[in-house]
Each structure stands twice: as structure tokens, then as C-alpha cells.
Amino acid sequence: MSQADAAAPANAHPNKTFREAINEALHQEMERDSTVIVMGEEVAGGAGCKGSDEAYGGVFGLTKGLGPRFGRERVIDTPITESAIIGAAAGAANTGLRPIAELMFVDFIGVCFDQIFNQAAKFRYMFGGKARTPMVIRATAGAGLRAAAQHSSMLHPVLTHIPGLKVVMPSNAYDAKGLIISAIRDDDPVVFIEHKLLYETSCPVPDEAYTIPFGEAAFAREGSDATIVAMGAMVPRAIAVADKLAAEGIHCDVIDPRTTSPLDSEAILESVEVSGRLVVVDEANPRCGLAADISSIVAEHAFSALRAPIKCVTAPHTPVPFAPALEDAYMPGEDRIEAAVRAVLGGR
């Protein structure tokens, strides 16, 4: 696994936000490869209105500028028709293009799930290796914007469950750029999950294109007292807890798997072999979730190293509530992460 690169190294590269890093990567990949196209609702800016056709660029602005730069043949606004969007991306991927489809909110997989899990994800296997489906589905996910039950889900556990899909969930701008470029160049369907709360976070990001391999975790912090695994918007929280504990002399590995499928289980197992203590933090609901998944891998393959029960820190088994006080309590917070780490340390 690569070390420390996820931790926003203080280097000579200019600071960029998560949003800017992805936008830049999209520009660079479309420039490099004319078979890369982008499609989705208002990804080019909007169409068929009386005013500007560049009002948007994706509702969160991630695709801003692509339409004017690469033209409407390659940056395609669609109706509200997610099954047709994902299906078109998959069919185009089978026939020579490398589509990037935007699913405005990952919550909308409900209306297009068949095209993701029964179609795109399965072609390569069920056609005996005869089909390639190099497509990326980009989607905003997560709580924190008071968008409530139908616009705040994570859903990466559902996607990670599906064989044939790759699932990517960056936690910072540097990784976001490297991972989206890897996703675009990958020959399998990839779901790329962007947490709403990360869009405005920033760190140094090289101007040039670079890739980060799938299945390689990053160590955001290192320490042998306990292992904390966290993903997406949970990584900054895990780092904050690790830093606080470090001031007390408790040092934790903070492992960010970066891709949930494939998963760098080796990095996690190696860390637990040393620390013997594991806390898994995930914003998704708990049942059949990613925290449970990682816990079970460790309980099977690093059992003898474990010196305390594995703790999972997740959302409760409820939809995302609207009221800010409830939503804040819904998301795993630093307090709960800290308590879990102290618990696996036997109450230190």
C-alpha cells in the first residue's frame, strides 16, 4: 500500500478543493482520450432554456466547463431518466466509448439499479469475458446537508456487495483526482462516490494527471496502539481523534481503504496483527454494512492477533432524519469514534 499520500502532504503543489481536483481530472482525461464522454442531468449546463446553457455543470458543479470545452457531443445533458442514463453509459462502454455518467445523488440508484447490478456489473462474467464495460458512475452521497431521508444515504455497502462493480470512495482532493483518473482508465464499471461534505475540503494536488491504484489503502496516520479504519467523510474525523489521542501518547493507524471493492484487506490485517485492536468507522447503516464487512474479515483472518472486541462505529439502523440535531447525532462523530478507540484500548 502507498503511505501517507492521502494525508494531504505539505508539498509544493497548489491547494485545490475536492471539487476542483475532480473537475481538473475530468478535463485532463477528456483531453487525453476522445472516447471519454460525460452524461447526466445538467452536466453540460442545462439545455432548452431561454437563458444560459451553462447555468450548471452538474448541480454540484463538478462538470463545470466541460460542455463549453468539449462540446455537446461529448458532454451530454439528459432528461431525468436514470435507467436510460446508466443503460446508455453501459451500452456505450460496450461499444467503444468510456462514459462517465453522473447520478446526481447516489440515492437515485433505486430507479436505475438494474442497469448497474444486473447489467453493467455482470456483462464481463456472464458473457465469459467477451464484454468490456469501461464506465464510471459518479454520485454524490452522504448526510450532513440536511437533505433528509431520500438525499443523504451512503449505499456503498449495497454497491460493494455486487460482484463485478468496483467502488471508490475518496476522502480528500488528492486521492479524488488520482482515483477518478484510475476509474476512467479502468475496464470495469466503477462507482465513484463523492461525499457532499468533502467538496469544499482542500489539499495540495499536482497539476498533472496521475493515477492511484485500486485496492491500495492509504495510512492517514500511523501508530501501533490501535487500528482505525475509516472511509470518505469519516476519515477527517478519524484523523482528528487519532491526533487528539496522539497528544496523550496513544498512537493509532488510521487506514483509509479508498476503494471498498476491491478492498485492501491486507493493509488492515497487517495493521491489526500489530495493534490487536480494531475500530471501523463508517457512515452507512450498520446491517450488512462495510464496517461489518471489514470486521468479519479481521475476525476470520487476524483473529489470534485480536486483543479486544472489534468496535463498529456507524449510523444507527434508521433513515437519515431531517432535523439538524438528529442528523448530527446520526452521523458517527468524533466523540463516538474516540469512545470506541478508548474502549478497544480497555478504557485507557
Binding site: E42, A149, H151
Partner: protein
């Protein structure tokens, strides 16, 4: 054609309530008093009110992300709505739903819906209940022009046609879906699309309360009498952004000024009823003031109210892990 004083008064009162409610929500949102994503209905009042004027609490409506107007037209308590939109414990849904997920089953309001196209399949279900239980009620779904492209909506049209459900499909074509126009996104024509399922569908001027009222009357009568579903496509407009805060760069120069000047359903209503001598200006003004007072009261209560208690995070779901 004459309308009862009661209808004329209540229709205007409901429309002005919706207009002022939405304008106030924009103000409160901008002041930081409302969290989340909010989509306002101002401009489209004549549709919601023209349709819901024919409904009782036993009739069901299914709404959209742009649901405040439908709620108010269907008789939801505006104070409880404000509390909900502000995320307060006493809100219509305990503050757990918010603007995009308001429901009030007692009033026959089956829910706003933050998933475009989520509502029509549910309204088929409500219509099926009525048909199966032998009740003379109707279900009404509201959909936008953008929503008309979602597969769930088209499936619902077909199933309503197959089962002859008492489902009145109202398409509010405000010619925008976020920043995408129907000219671009709707291949063909919405009303034609409805008719292709063997469902009669009329086009109506959605800025004219009376036109909507008459079209809805005919449609609802059709549904209530067991003849199956009916549709209307209302030509309408929205005054504000897709969501509060949307800069509306997709608007043409002067487009909004023109709409406000010439296609404001409240102005059009006032002109018509005063022109016909059905109501006078002072009565209308008084209704504006009454609505404003009710909203003011609700907002003050909302601002002062508390958020839900922490236990509510775990309630209303069968089990918590």
C-alpha cells in the same frame, strides 16, 4: 358561469397563502432559519388550488419535491408545515422529514417526494384502495415536465389504464426541470404521451384558476364515476429558482419580469374576479392580510420551537442496532 362566494374566497385565500408562504420561506431560508434543500411553488398556485378545490380529506394527493403548495391546497396546517420545514419537534412529521418529505395522511396528503417520479406509482395504490374498497374517492398525482420522462411515471400511466384506476394525473409543465427545458428533454409532447396509454388528457392554461378548476372538475368526475384515469397538462411557470438560492442563470433576459408582469396567476385571478364583479379589491386585500398574519404567527412559533429530542432518532422504525 358563476362561482359561489365561498369558493371564490377560499380559492383566493389558499392561493395567496401559498404565494406568501413561499416568499416567506425564501426569506427565512436566506436568514438561515431553514436547513436543507427547499423548492418553492410560487407561480403555480392556480394549479394546486384549482385541482384540490374539488377534493375532500378522503381523496388522496401525491406530491413532489415542490410540495408546499399542494400541501396547503390540500388543507395541511400551515403552522405545522412551517415547524416541519424548520425541523422542529412539533412539525407535521416531527421534524424528521423536512420540506422534501412532508406528509399528512389524515388530510389525504400522501407525501411530498424527493425522488422525481416517486409519487405516481403510490397514487395508483391509493386509487386501487378506493376501487377495491368501493369508495367514491380519487387519487391525484402531481408531476412536472421533467418527471414525465421518468419510467416510473410512464409505468404508472399504463397500470392506471390497465386497471381503470380513479387516478387523476396532473402534469405541471413549468417548462423547466432544474436548468433543463421541456423543449429539450421531452421528446414529443406530454399530453400526447398520456393519451397514448388510452387515457384522455386535456391541456390547460395553468395560470388561469378557472380554467384549471373546470378541467379538474371534468377529470375528477370522470375518475369518480369509474371510467378510469384522466390527465391534464397545465402550462405554468415558476417564479423562483429550482431550489432556494438557485441563481437561475438559465433564464432569458427579461424572462422573469415578463412572467411576473403577465403570467402571475394571482394577478390574473384578481383581474378576473374584480372584472366580473364577483369580488372587490378590498375583500381580496383583506384575504392577503389574513394570510400574512397566519404565516407570521407560524413563523414566530417555528423560530421559537425546539428541535426533536434525541430519542426521536431511533423512533418510528422497527428496530435499532
Amino acid at each position: 358561469m358563476a362561482y359561489s362566494k365561498e369558493l371564490l374566497t377560499s380559492a383566493y385565500y389558499t392561493m395567496t397563502t401559498i404565494r406568501q408562504f413561499e416568499e416567506r420561506m425564501i426569506k427565512e431560508f436566506m436568514a438561515g432559519n431553514i436547513p436543507g434543500f427547499v423548492h418553492t411553488y410560487d407561480g403555480q398556485e392556480a394549479v394546486g388550488v384549482g385541482v384540490c378545490s374539488h377534493l375532500s380529506d378522503d381523496d388522496i394527493i401525491g406530491s413532489t419535491h415542490r410540495g408546499h403548495g399542494h400541501c396547503i391546497a390540500k388543507g395541511c396546517d400551515i403552522e405545522l408545515m412551517i415547524l416541519e420545514i424548520m425541523g422542529k419537534a412539533e412539525g407535521l412529521c416531527k421534524g424528521k422529514g423536512g420540506s422534501m418529505h412532508i406528509a399528512d395522511i389524515d388530510k389525504g396528503m400522501l407525501g411530498a417526494n424527493a425522488i422525481v417520479g416517486g409519487g405516481p406509482p403510490l397514487c395508483n395504490g391509493a386509487a386501487l384502495s378506493m376501487k377495491t374498497l368501493g369508495k367514491p374517492h380519487v387519487a391525484v398525482s402531481f408531476s412536472g415536465d421533467g418527471s414525465s420522462n421518468q419510467g416510473t411515471v410512464m409505468e404508472s400511466l399504463n397500470l392506471a389504464g390497465v386497471l381503470d384506476l380513479p387516478h387523476f394525473f396532473v402534469f405541471e409543465n413549468n417548462h423547466l426541470a432544474e436548468g433543463t427545458g421541456d423543449e429539450y428533454a421531452v421528446a414529443g409532447d406530454i399530453a400526447e404521451r398520456v393519451r397514448a396509454f388510452g387515457i384522455p388528457c386535456d391541456k390547460v392554461d395553468g395560470t388561469d384558476f378557472f380554467a384549471v378548476y373546470e378541467a379538474a372538475k371534468k377529470a375528477i368526475k370522470h375518475c369518480r364515476s369509474g371510467k378510469g384515469p384522466y390527465g391534464i397538462e397545465a402550462d405554468v411557470l415558476r417564479f423562483d429558482g429550482h431550489f432556494i438560492g438557485d441563481p437561475q442563470a438559465y433564464r432569458g433576459e427579461g424572462e422573469l419580469d415578463d412572467l411576473r408582469a403577465n403570467r402571475d396567476c394571482l394577478k390574473i385571478y384578481r383581474e378576473r374576479v374584480t372584472g366580473e364583479g364577483w369580488m372587490d379589491t378590498s375583500a381580496l386585500d383583506k384575504l392577503d392580510e389574513d394570510a400574512a398574519a397566519a404565516i407570521e404567527k407560524g413563523v414566530q412559533r417555528g423560530l421559537a420551537a425546539a428541535q426533536p429530542a434525541m430519542e426521536e432518532l431511533y423512533s418510528d422504525v422497527y428496530c435499532s442496532y
